[in-house]
């Protein structure tokens, strides 16, 4: 991911040297005050996290309970978002959807992040033919557009929640491997690393205790920026029928249901709005973070 934005619209506090007395909370708050979009993003994320955690107590109906006499009803006082082709309450299903999409997106990013960090760190630190081979491998993976490769893998493994996550991890790790490798290469030549080698520290210890901790912060920032995208691709896989099984309240799959009932717009409209707001929230936050970043870092991400 190259620099998508170079300039912040307002002077931001994160890039500038932060006074030592300032607490993390105060820094975050002044960052959000200076970036209204990020503030909207954070609010939306908190909203969806709370809704997902408390969904069982919020929903008026069970998200999987079918009621054929009530099928295809437009939004009403009883069914705020209407009912679908099996008489299930769309509002309840939308509220439950976040319980799948958010953890799925996070799982993909965390697992791919760990795999990518290990591979990238080894490649960058060991170098030579080892680095060369690993980087050629990542290039091959990156040559496939994300959704195509994920689709092929998910289809081959068989449609399920776990397989969809697994497929996305296979597609996602090379991005992190490349970023972490670049970071390791730049940290490797810094004075404190050479000092550590000079006093006789073992190579493996230098890598895990000295080099890697200095690469983690930017990698974590990249992961945050990526989260929205991961949720979007996950919804796409479910939409294609390659995610959790049919009755599961999952946003992408609910939209797929809506295609066959085109005139009942509410079946697809509300779950889509849910995906849209979640992804938008993460993109708003990610954009502000990218803007606030140190320009040198921005080039790496």
């Amino acid at each position: 991911m190259s620099a998508v934005s170079t300039a912040s619209p307002r002077p931001s506090t994160v890039g500038a040297p932060v006074r030592l007395q300032k607490s993390a909370a105060a820094t975050t708050w002044s960052f959000l005050r200076a970036n209204p979009l990020a503030l909207i993003g954070v609010t939306l994320v908190i909203f969806w996290v709370v809704v997902s955690l408390t969904a069982p107590w919020l929903v008026p109906f069970s998200p999987t309970q079918q009621s054929i006499p009530d099928r295809l009803q437009p939004p009403s006082a009883a069914h705020w978002f209407g009912t679908d082709q099996l008489g299930r309450d769309v509002f309840s299903r939308v509220l439950y959807g976040g319980r799948l999409s958010l953890p799925a997106g996070i799982a993909v990013i965390v697992i791919a992040g760990i795999v990518g960090t290990i591979v990238g760190a080894l490649a960058g630190y060991i170098g030579g033919w080892f680095d060369e081979v690993l980087m050629r491998v990542t290039e091959v993976f990156i040559a496939f557009p994300t959704i195509i490769l994920a689709m092929a893998i998910a289809a081959a493994l068989g449609p399920s929640l776990i397989n969809a996550i697994l497929a996305m991890v296979v597609v996602w790790w090379p991005n992190y491997a490349r970023v972490v490798r670049a970071l390791v290469l730049s940290v490797k030549s810094r004075d404190f690393v050479e000092a550590s080698a000079a006093i006789g520290t073992r190579r493996t210890r230098i890598l895990w205790r000295t080099v890697l901790p200095n690469c983690l912060a930017p990698a974590i920032v990249l992961a945050t920026i990526d989260l929205g995208n991961a949720i979007l691709i996950f919804a796409g896989l479910s939409f294609l029928g390659l995610g959790p099984p049919p009755n599961t309240p999952e946003w992408g799959r609910m939209i797929a249901d809506g295609i066959e009932y085109f005139d009942q717009w509410w079946i697809a409209a509300f779950p889509g709005l849910a995906i849209f707001t979640v992804v938008m929230a993460f993109n708003f936050i990610g954009d502000a973070i990218r803007d606030a970043l140190d320009p040198r870092l921005r080039k790496t991400l």
């Binding site: 190259s2 620099a3 998508v4 934005s5 170079t6 300039a7 619209p9 307002r10 979009l37 050629r136 491998v137 290039e139 091959v140 993976f141 040559a143 496939f144 557009p145 994300t146 959704i147 195509i148 490769l149 689709m151 092929a152 893998i153 998910a154 289809a155 081959a156 493994l157 068989g158 929205g228 979007l232 919804a235 796409g236 939409f239 294609l240 029928g241 390659l242 992408g252 939209i255 797929a256 809506g258 295609i259 085109f262 005139d263 717009w265 697809a268 409209a269 779950p271 889509g272 995906i275 849209f276 992804v279 938008m280 993109n283 708003f284 954009d287």
Partner: protein
């Protein structure tokens, strides 16, 4: 280094990439738990060991994986991508039939994305921190956040079913005969045949899917253009250009945009590949008969040769487009030529 030498070197570097891609496509479809036999034979046929054995023998599923891969590669070099288990036709033949519709759609989408993205991006950079910049920023962020399959449904609902201003699903109105086949792109074929009514109808049908598909790309290109322009505008030669009395329009188009185009070209190449992938999510909604629909049907029936064919085709187009972008980049930037 002259450009032809650069192209040659890049082409050689592409070979291991292509082998890697076929290997991945092959491993995915052969070394995983999913069994093409269960996917393609009914319950009844599955209980008959003779039918199962015949099926396995017919598709060579009993040979060692290395042999199967070798055979696959050998066939591939001769342009044989195998036979689709579902349609029972050669995969290459299927792809040839479906590809033009996708190329037409993806090209229209990239044209839209590049035009709008460049204009928005340049204006945004020139009027930095104005209300226009902020609005463009929000719109482009919304563009990269919206699920394209949902936007497709919503657009059809609003512009086709409700307002009635857009064409319905499909490439032409029902009952209209496609133009005589030349390229497979209906708009181009209709123009070649001089059938104006068909041309406008095809264009009308193309507009909404292309707009929807291009929404993500528009957002990306806008952001990249803005940031590339801001980078260039802060350079000292911009001040020089202004100081020597050039008209602002000349400074912007000749000095700023030309240099900013270099990173933008790379992103456009990258975006085109993603557009081809994005068609998988939109074509089913617009009943657009392209490789996206073909790929989806292939995936759900575990039609391995077809899945491999589509993945390979998209990956190869993706590599080719990026190669072209890199060559353009190389010829646009004299610094690179001097370095190499």
């Amino acid at each position: 280094m002259p450009v032809y030498q650069y192209i040659l070197r890049r082409l050689v570097l592409t070979i291991p990439l292509l082998i890697g891609i076929t290997l991945i496509a092959f491993v995915i479809s052969h070394a995983v738990p999913a069994d093409p036999v269960t996917a393609n034979l009914g319950q009844k046929a599955m209980s008959d060991p003779e039918i199962v054995a015949a099926f396995r023998a017919e598709w060579g599923l009993d040979d060692p994986l290395a042999v199967q891969y070798g055979r696959y590669l050998g066939n591939l070099v001769q342009g044989d991508m195998g036979r689709s288990i579902k349609t029972r036709r050669a995969v290459l033949e299927d792809l040839r039939a479906y590809l033009p519709a996708t190329i037409e759609l993806a090209t229209a989408a990239i044209l839209f994305g590049v035009t709008v993205g460049l204009i928005f991006g340049v204006l945004s950079a020139l009027k930095r921190n104005s209300w226009l910049d902020h609005i463009v920023r929000v719109i482009s962020l919304l563009g990269v956040s919206v699920p394209v399959f949902w936007l497709a449904l919503l657009a059809l609902y609003i512009f086709y079913a409700w307002l009635g201003v857009a064409a319905g699903p499909g490439r032409l109105d029902v009952g209209m005969t496609p133009p005589p086949h030349a390229t497979g792109l209906y708009t181009v074929d209709a123009l070649l045949a001089g059938q104006w009514n068909v041309f406008f109808n095809a264009l009308w049908h193309l507009a909404l899917p292309a707009l929807v598909l291009g929404s993500f790309t528009t957002g990306v290109i806008t952001r990249v253009t803005r940031s590339a322009m801001l980078d260039v505008l802060s350079q000292e030669y911009m001040r020089t250009a202004h100081a020597k009395g050039l008209a602002p329009r000349v400074v912007i188009t000749q000095h700023a945009l030309r240099n900013a185009l270099i990173p933008i070209v790379t992103v456009i190449g990258f975006s085109y590949g993603n557009l081809l992938a994005g068609t998988v999510l939109t074509e089913s909604i617009f009943a657009w008969p392209g490789i996206g629909q073909y790929a989806y049907r292939a995936s759900t029936s575990l039609d391995f040769p077809a899945i491999m064919g589509v993945s390979l085709l998209i990956a190869i187009i993706f590599i080719a487009v990026n190669l072209v972008a890199d060559v353009l980049y190389f010829s646009l930037d004299p610094r690179l030529r001097a370095q190499a």
